[in-house]
Point group: C2
Chain length 475, copies 2
Amino acid sequence: MLEELEKEQEQQDEGLDYDTIVEKQTDRLAELLDRRDMKELQRRMEELNEFDVAEFLSEIDDNRMPMVFRLLSKETAADVFANFDPPEQERIINAITDSELAGIIDELYVDDAVDIVGELPANVVKRVMRAATPQTRNLINQYLRYPENSAGSIMTAEFVDLKKYMSVKESIARIRRIGEDRETIYVCFVISADRKLEGIVTVKDLLLADDDTIIEDLMDRNVIFASTTEDQESVSEKFADYDLMALPVVDNEGRLVGIVTVDDVMDVMEQEATEDIEKLAGMLPSDKPYSRTSIIEIWKNRIPWLMFLMLSATFTSMILTSFEDMLAVQAGLVAFIPMLMGTGGNSGAQASTAVIRALSLGDIEPKDALSVMWRELRVAFLCGLALAMVNFVKMLVLDGMILHNDAVTVQVAATVSSSILFIVLFAKSVGALLPILAEKIGVDPAVMANPLISTVTDAVSLLIYIYVAKLILHI
Amino acid sequence: MLEELEKEQEQQDEGLDYDTIVEKQTDRLAELLDRRDMKELQRRMEELNEFDVAEFLSEIDDNRMPMVFRLLSKETAADVFANFDPPEQERIINAITDSELAGIIDELYVDDAVDIVGELPANVVKRVMRAATPQTRNLINQYLRYPENSAGSIMTAEFVDLKKYMSVKESIARIRRIGEDRETIYVCFVISADRKLEGIVTVKDLLLADDDTIIEDLMDRNVIFASTTEDQESVSEKFADYDLMALPVVDNEGRLVGIVTVDDVMDVMEQEATEDIEKLAGMLPSDKPYSRTSIIEIWKNRIPWLMFLMLSATFTSMILTSFEDMLAVQAGLVAFIPMLMGTGGNSGAQASTAVIRALSLGDIEPKDALSVMWRELRVAFLCGLALAMVNFVKMLVLDGMILHNDAVTVQVAATVSSSILFIVLFAKSVGALLPILAEKIGVDPAVMANPLISTVTDAVSLLIYIYVAKLILHI
């Protein structure tokens, strides 16, 4: 009867997209929990993907959550645990016994265990480390010593190693024996007696070869690898360039110490993109999701740039002060300053953002500085011209004729419009050049954040406006 | 002797990082090319990774490049070709014979062929399509019909399909037979007679099971899948959430039509991050790398926002115009307007960027609006207070005492400083709220770009400044 029910279920599900199916499954779990049908709840949770189970558990109330979590089998429990956010992990750790905790820690891959330990409060970490076997504890401690964001800090120890004198048959037998708890079995690593990496062989190679082929004749010696201290950004570039599934990580002596798998690299890519976006908006990068960063930390990430930019605006104030009398001679000029500065800032930010992203994707290099400048100048000319023309008409028609602003004469409109052209030309050049310069001297180009470019163009926009006004209005 | 040389080579390479090794190998290739030692060049290129060969070929001059490319074996040639940028692909297509071209197209995975056809000029595409077999041509045409950025447009047709009544032994035999040219063999898809997706089974499952286990008993029925029209961003979220290697794509009737592999998803992630970054800087997203986008296209992507923002600045101008007389009463007030607007814009951009990124990563949802506002208000208070205090001291000491700006009295400093506090409070609230509002009404939050937030805060900052001045200075 159960099977019939399931058949019916499947027929109902047909044609739905996956998200809707998961939603329905989760609703059914909630229903079972309300009815206290724990046996069926247990059965259904084991069938679901561990990510969806983790999501379901995060949604139910804090009192019942650990109780439902304990229904899971040891293997599923560890997988679900790895998918939790730190607050849920902490709640679980506080609710289960030492031996249950030991079971979970034992089932986790080292890289997940290291992640968890890195994010939990010290007293919880102490309990986790006490519960781990001495071997796991040593491994976690060793991994925690690698620099943050290095290949060493994101690698894991659970890989399949082979020897070059093994046959394909022996290799497959070894995979069958030890493969169960390895993070990937599809790429196997051929190492020498002193653990030096000699080659890689994929399960595809093994399956397509004859049983008695020797690994040495099958393996790829041209192995792409990373060093333990290499930056994770460089690791993720290797995955993208070479379409890898797993990347071996070696120490100074060329000994294989771990592997990075593609699922970890996807997290790295997300993290690196977030960092770039934060830097572009004038924030220090945070290592935690927004919703879990404390107010003080957010403040610490945001105040340095705000403070620096506020103080740098002193130059703009000084320019305005010294030309105050001159600007006052021709009524109406002051009113267009914010528009000019805004247009300069926006134009510069567009150029710098495009160049910073192109640099970070390897699309352009510092040696392309001249050709980038030439592109940006042409784009700036086209943008500036279009903006200047529209502004000229707009000032005469809207400000002059419709709003009856007597200060807006043809000369004033010409002054503001030609200033726009020069300001856009300047802003786009600076926006393109500063990031390339930064890259050239080895500074992260994203530090040339849009707010910084805006502050530079603010001051220069004002000067351009003042000199154009002198020229056209003879003031 | 050759082997001895290689041994020596390997010893020299020991301890170097991978990038340096590749550089040395490429230098050696260039040397061989200069010496015209084509046989050794050919041998060494076959040994290298196809991405590195593509990089090497892109660097050598246009005349010799097609000639060197033709040294490659058919399989390597196709792999290298898929790694080229469109300009190199075009050059190769123009230099090789129809039958060589047919050979390459035949070896390509459909998704790569579709990508290539999508990026080449029409006349080159014609030649490619003529060279392809009718079957490949139909497949390419069918794939080209899926909407841009849909799961259908990034999927490929080369997967391993199994039937549920097969045994593990039969399945492995099938993989061995057809696996050679499949994009992945590690995830196999179990389909019914009418091609409906019934389950998946991994090679790991197969290897760890007994030879005579039936696939039906082994397969995972709880399959995560995508629909052909599903957005690629949702596809990449599934990979990140569920740590997938491959995702099946089904049509409306639940029939399996293709798969998306993890290497394609990494490109999607990069592309989506670039789009978000572009939108945040007030640009329309471009679908090509910066260096290959024409000046006119760049202009088209940038001018809409610049134009809109320039015109919206009219409000700020109008406010300034109507309060011009009032601001003129107290000398020195105008000089601080750019700083106040800048601080408002930067504070707002920080908040909106943080919130937009958190929304796009699923860290917060529209229903969290109130708690996000409460966080941002507290952060804004801390930031505003720090900025106001520093500004107060700076104005009295630097502007007043050092630069002898007589206009800067204690009252003026108090006016500017308290304005900062209110402006930051307003800017951060708007910056946090607008993206959430956008998400709520189903608009991409990244459209609430920083430039837009800046323009809104510009006008309000000015009003805040004017009212605070009225209050404190009684003007």
